[in-house]
């Protein structure tokens, strides 16, 4: 009913919103960079850019996995808990050497991914609910394993958290490498194409003979492992394991980055470049508000508004 009147307003409005969805996130990043350049003291410094990039890295890595889940017309709410689980496992097994501990932490993420994926693919539970259950259980398991904050004293971990190559921190390098890897997987691999087909229409994908269940499980395993990587890196940076608060509200930041970056919630499409820009946009937004002495609570309200605007733009485009 409202469609008709909306359509009659003009086509330009739809095209404008389409453009906004396609390039809005990049425009937003540029705008925030400009605003900060002119109005924020000490913004244009290598040190500041380094800090911003290091801070955005774990969020971006989680968002990459989230983009895959959303591309398959799902969502992964368990990512924050997976980060907590990976930091607990890391601390518990650090005695066997950082390599072994990191491997076990990643396996932990993969196991949660398999559980999520199985509930969704075999039982047919909606992704929100399945991952909600694992979100609660996962943080519980993390806290059972490691009830309180524990310092991480390990030279290799410290190097991973604060070291760099030619001035680029390891964290940023790893995040960039993973972004390229995921973009490659989505665009150039069979798995990537099958994932998008399933996100587009699961019944059609099934009729076409695609291995729907295997692909769905693999999607959530990817998301779990990426979240575990983020957990490991965050632990290395903070030089402490804090299963109580690590990854809190991370699912929200990751979903925001993906959605703001132009990946539609309806699945069938994944934009990795947009996701990177989305994560950077949220980071810059937070920095801008904080550097101008606005209270942190405003960041949350601003983030909420940005989410709604991004989804609104996506919806207009989806209609055309």
């Amino acid at each position: 009913m409202t469609d008709l009147t909306l359509g009659r307003v003009t086509v330009d409005r739809g095209r404008l919103l389409g453009l906004l969805q396609e390039y809005g996130v990049y425009a937003g990043v540029v705008a925030l960079l400009l605003v900060n350049t002119f109005f924020t003291p000490h913004f244009l410094s290598t040190e500041n850019f380094r800090t911003q990039a290091v801070q955005v890295s774990p969020v971006l890595i989680v968002a990459l996995g989230m983009a895959l889940a959303i591309g398959s017309e799902g969502v992964d709410l368990a990512v924050g808990s997976v980060m907590a689980l990976s930091t607990s496992l890391l601390s518990l097994y650090l005695g066997y050497g950082p390599g072994v501990a990191i491997l076990i932490a990643l396996v932990g993420g993969a196991v949660i991914g398999v559980a999520n994926g199985s509930l969704i693919a075999f039982v047919g539970v909606q992704p929100i609910v399945a991952t909600l259950a694992l979100m609660v259980a996962g943080r519980g398991i993390a806290l059972v394993l490691l009830p309180q904050l524990k310092d991480v004293h390990d030279p290799a971990m410290a190097e991973l958290g604060s070291g760099d190559v030619l001035g680029v921190p390891y964290l940023v390098l790893i995040a960039a490498a993973l972004a390229l890897l995921v973009a490659f997987v989505v665009r150039r691999t069979t798995f990537g194409r099958q994932l998008l087909a399933i996100g587009d229409s699961r019944p059609a994908a099934r009729l076409a003979g695609l291995p729907v269940r295997r692909v769905l499980i693999l999607v959530y395993v990817c998301s779990g492992v990426l979240a575990a990587v983020a957990g490991v890196l965050a632990t290395a940076r903070l030089t402490a394991s804090d299963p109580t608060s690590l990854g809190n509200l991370m699912e929200l930041s990751a979903i925001t980055a993906v959605v703001v970056g132009g990946t539609p919630l309806s699945g069938g499409r994944v934009r990795i470049g947009g996701t990177v820009a989305g994560a950077v946009l949220i980071q810059l937004l937070t920095t801008t508000l904080i550097k101008h002495d606005l209270p942190p609570s405003w960041t949350q309200i601003a983030q909420a508004v940005v989410i709604v605007l991004a989804v609104y733009a996506a919806r207009e485009r989806g209609k055309r």
């Binding site: 929100i128 609660v136 519980g140 059972v144 009830p147 949350q300 309200i301 909420a304 989804v311 609104y312």
Partner: protein, 340 residues
Amino acid sequence: MTTDVDIPVRARDTAEEEPSGAGRSERLSALAQQHGALVTLIVAMTVASFSFDTFLTGDNLENMALSSAFLAVVALGMTFVIVTGGIDLSVGSLFALGGVLAAWGSRYGTVVALLLPLAVCGLIGLVNGLLIARSRLAPFIVTLASMLGARGLLLSVTDEGSKTYLVDKDSFFAKLGQGALLGVGVPVWITVALFVLGAVVLRRTRFGQYVYAVGGNEDAAALMGAPVARTKISVYTLSGLCAGLAGALNAAWLVSGVTILGSGMELEAISAVVIGGTLLTGGFGFISGSLVGVLLLKVIQNVINQIGSLDSAYQQVVSGAFLAAVVIAQTWLGRRRRVL
């Protein structure tokens, strides 16, 4: 406890014209779905009362009833939302926001203490509903955003969470939370009254029929002339009102507006509704089931607390596993009944 099967389900059953054998197993599945939670609750309470001497004491039961009351009011609104096929993730934030606003407003009297949280939380619920129904945005993302926004609003009202507003212990508003009638706390009475009202609205009114119809099949409901958008807007507003009211009652009970409450509450409320037999796909559900779901969750928490050696971390593991188990069972039962 109402025992009859829902009207929309009945319509589906007759429409499919199952052979009589399949019909019988279908009815059994329906019974399991509707009363499974109640049976589990009775079993859990029986086992708990034999295992712990402290379980069936007046103090413990009263404590459980009171702590269930606030969650139950939130779950009541959530039931309506889920029956329409939606979801409301903002209730935890609205619960906390309602509590803080009520505590702040209580200095101007009980009316302000109740109306302020209802107005603000109801308004946020209305905005949720408008964005979902009119702009056709996904419910989970809209309510996720308002969960974030409401938490931000709460923090800015309380100087970034550093300020706690207290309720005057002798005020009428505090009595709403702390008082008792016939030995049962006032919040429990209010909750029971709201559930009776909610059940009547969902089962016996035109609005309730619309709620089921929208959840069953939105396009069909629209063709039948049901006001789809208005129904959706109403249920999200209702959910916001319920969360705000629960927060206000909780603040009256605690005689302060605690800022850190409510995180994870959306999950508890959704779990309770799902455990109570309401389908997340919409179109099928019971108000009474949600009450049973809340009680079951609280009994499980209570038992874990009584075991003592198990801490809250285990509580989370058990709740998560329990939710997963219930959803698996429900999906299985639902598939047998071909509701999905």
